[in-house]
């Protein structure tokens, strides 16, 4: 029943956007309750529709639910508009709308003092939710791209939320404005690549419908080289949106927006769009193993690279931002490694490899779900801390645990979860990711050095994650009272703590879903398009058995505990001075990390040298060539008119002379023709 109305999920937040945009100022809380209502309705519809799909006939025979209507016909290319629901869309819809709902409720407390600007805030976050919901239920790439761009726009607007008047003065406003621009322009680079990829797909398939593009017969019919280029370009789009290396640098800057917006971008929407794009495009990505190994390496490198920058950052939100980058890298690592195994399995007809590939896919999607919960929790918790302490600098915090019991406990749960403490949600998905990287070696399928490298990247990141998360937690909530702690207001209002508690429950337990058929449900999404492969992957208790019988799991647990212990020694017990390792912030490595590997400077250099040069070239082209052609043509016409107007003397004699000259010429011509034809 509800499945036919699933298109309402983006439409209702869109209506909220319009209503709040026009009437927000006349409403209570600047329209906040309308936004909450919209998210709630979207969540309920998603929940009912997902339930119907999973219990329905289509799911049982591995088919997606598709509803389409014709949107455009361009020559032979048909573009449709519709919904495509499979288990991947279902989980995306569920966690996006649920976490958005939590964030909107939290915003009532967090944004309460923003007065008139709340209208803008609630309108834009509603539109953001529209973008995400539309993205995950789209039935074709073009429709997806439209919602993808809506999210890009909203991220720009919301990151720059304080660009007009910041509480902390003009510099902060300028930072917000430039962070918004950076986010928009850097992701734009990915979007352009994505669009180019879509052009190639449209050219090859004559359609952008998932049902057409993912159909085995169609894939077999197209040129593999073109398909490889298209997948690489689509992946570049995902890299931009999900802030992977080398397009990662906008995400830390995006912390200039309100913390709730960061939570929205990092947990529920935006950056999850890139991961979703790769997961959704899995059937065309697995056609070429090299593309998949690239995905895995970009992910693995970003994971370790971003985690290193989180090690010494003093800004509570930036630590979380880097950890998001790092965790997104984990997701790409899992998807890429799994995709590589599946691609090899498809080429050699090895069913075991295909099953392991599907396990990687499950790990990536599963980590995305878990990450959504604990990252939303951590961001909202840090928002609560900032709300109370009035600063983002962790050096000024410390000892907040006594004043903010709920926040500190919920954030502890979030930190344990992201660090991969056994049995919390992050543990299950993180170890599933590592298991994917280990799979070839452990199943006697040839331990390739690539997978060893991926596994090392993953496990080192796991250690660093545990360390920096607990560094953050101890610096904020334990130890001596900082100056900001003394002025802190104490615990945040209930509208902020209740979402924290709810999210903490999920951060504790969402990983257990893997024991109860979640992996099977996610695999069904692959079976919808790659059904002919007869994918069989481990599920439920078998996965748990795999994880706990694997010696490397215990290595990763030990490393996690070690990271936490070092964090405790350095920042709580203070028996180890972190200054010893970085020469009190003077060592070259420390400075390199503080400067973010000079990436902002590299971006600037590239945009000034290359971007500005290209812009100047384009400007020259525009002014001289295009305008030149237009102006030249008009000048030629005007000049010709000027010179011909000299004939118009106004003198009757001249006119008469011209008339008779004409007559004489005519007569001469006629006579010449007659003579040439041999007389009359």
């Amino acid at each position: 029943m509800m499945l036919e109305y699933v298109w309402l999920t983006p439409l209702i937040p869109l209506l909220c956007f319009v209503i709040i945009g026009f009437f927000g100022n006349k409403m209570k809380e600047g329209g906040g309750y309308v936004a909450i209502f919209g998210a709630l309705v979207a969540f309920v519809i998603s929940l009912v529709a997902s339930y119907e799909y999973v219990t329905g006939d289509l799911f049982a025979i591995s088919l997606p639910f598709v509803q389409e209507m014709n949107w455009l016909t361009i020559g032979a290319h048909e573009i449709n508009f519709g919904v495509y629901i499979d288990s991947l869309s279902c989980v995306m819809m569920l966690f996006a709308s649920f976490i958005s709902l939590m964030i909107f409720v939290y915003s009532v407390g967090y944004m309460g003092h923003e007065e008139k600007k709340r209208r803008r805030y609630y309108a834009e976050v509603s539109l953001f939710l529209t973008g995400m919901m539309g993205l995950v239920i789209s039935s074709n790439y073009l429709e997806m791209f439209v919602f993808w761009e809506i999210m890009g726009l909203c991220s720009y607007l919301l990151i720059g939320f304080w660009s007009f008047r910041h509480n902390e003065g003009d510099t902060a406003s300028e930072n917000a404005a430039s962070a918004a621009k950076k986010a928009f322009l850097v992701t734009r680079l990915g979007d352009v690549c994505f669009m180019a990829g879509l052009f190639i797909l449209l050219n090859e398939f004559h359609s952008l419908d998932y049902a057409v593009v993912f159909a085995q017969a169609n894939i077999a019919a197209v040129d593999p080289t073109a398909l490889t280029i298209a997948t690489l370009l689509i992946f570049a789009g995902a890299v931009g949106k999900s802030a992977q290396f080398p397009l990662h640098d906008w995400l830390p800057d995006a912390m200039a927006g309100p913390t709730t917006v960061s939570a929205l971008i990092h947990a529920a929407t935006m950056v999850k769009g890139g991961v979703y794009l790769v997961a959704r495009s899995f059937p065309i990505f697995v056609q070429n193993p090299d593309v998949m190994i690239l995905v895995a390496f970009v992910g693995g490198f970003t994971a370790i690279f971003a985690a290193s920058m989180a090690l010494n950052n003093m800004n509570i939100k930036r630590v979380l931002a880097y950890s998001t980058l790092s965790q997104l890298g984990y997701m790409f690592l899992a998807l890429g490694a799994g995709g590589y195994l599946m691609a090899i399995g498809m080429q050699t007809g090895n069913n075991e490899l295909i099953g392991l590939g599907a396990l990687g896919y499950v790990a990536g999607v599963f980590h995305m779900i878990n990450h959504a919960f604990f990252k939303a929790l951590l961001f909202l918790g840090s928002g609560s801390v900032i709300h109370s302490a009035g600063t983002e600098d962790m050096r000024k915090m410390g000892g907040l645990g006594k004043k903010m019991k709920i926040t500190s406990i919920t954030m502890l749960i979030g930190s344990l979860s992201i660090a991969g403490f056994p049995l919390l949600s992050g543990f299950w998905s993180k170890d599933l990711v590592l298991e994917t990287a280990l799979a070839p070696a452990q199943h006697g399928l040839g331990a390739e050095w690539t997978f060893t490298a991926l596994f090392l990247m993953g496990i080192i990141t796991a250690f660093m994650t545990a360390f920096y998360m607990f560094r953050m937690w101890f610096m904020t909530f334990r130890g001596d009272e900082g100056e900001a702690t003394r002025h802190a207001h104490g615990e945040s209002p209930r509208s902020m703590t209740v979402p924290l508690i709810i999210l903490a429950v999920f951060a504790l337990g969402s990983g257990l879903g893997i024991l109860f058929g979640l992996s099977n449900a996610i695999t069904e999404s692959l079976s919808c398009t790659l059904g002919y492969l007869h994918i069989h992957t481990h599920e439920g208790m078998t996965i748990a058995e795999d994880i706990f019988t694997n010696v490397w799991t215990y290595v990763s647990i030990v490393l996690t505990l070690l990271g936490m212990y070092i964090g405790w020694l350095m920042y709580c017990k203070k028996s180890v001075d972190p200054g010893r390792f970085n020469k009190n912030g003077e060592s070259r490595l420390y400075k390199l990390l503080t400067k973010r590997y000079y990436f902002p400077q590299i971006y600037n250099a590239i945009s000034w040298k290359l971007g500005y040069g290209v812009a100047k070239g384009v400007d020259y082209m525009d002014k001289e060539v295009i305008d030149g052609a237009v102006n030249g043509l008009s000048n030629a016409v005007v000049g010709a008119g000027d010179s011909l107007s000299a004939v118009q003397t106004g003198n009757l004699n001249n006119y008469a002379a011209w008339v008779y000259t004409g007559v004489i010429v005519l007569v001469a011509v006629i006579m010449a023709v007659f003579i040439a034809n041999g007389g009359i």
Partner: protein, 100 residues
Amino acid sequence: MIQIELFLLLSAILFVVGLYGVLTTNRGIIVLMSIEIMLNAGNINMIAFAAYWGSALGQVFVIFSLAIAAAEVAVGIALLLNVYKVKKTTKIDDMTILRW
């Protein structure tokens, strides 16, 4: 019977005289008169051919032509009179205000 070539010669001479007048003079009245001479050169041609072919059609056309010429002169003179009222001259060199 007078040869037709002589009529045509007379007509051509008259036409050239009229043309010379139109092209060289700057006096409006003379221009109108010269146009009349050219018109009548044409009329002579028509009558001559009518006589040559033994057909009345050419003569009928000449009657029409004369009537229209009279009307045209009336209009021309009226225009010149009005110009004279405004500019106190009928010289066509001075009537150049409508050019670019």
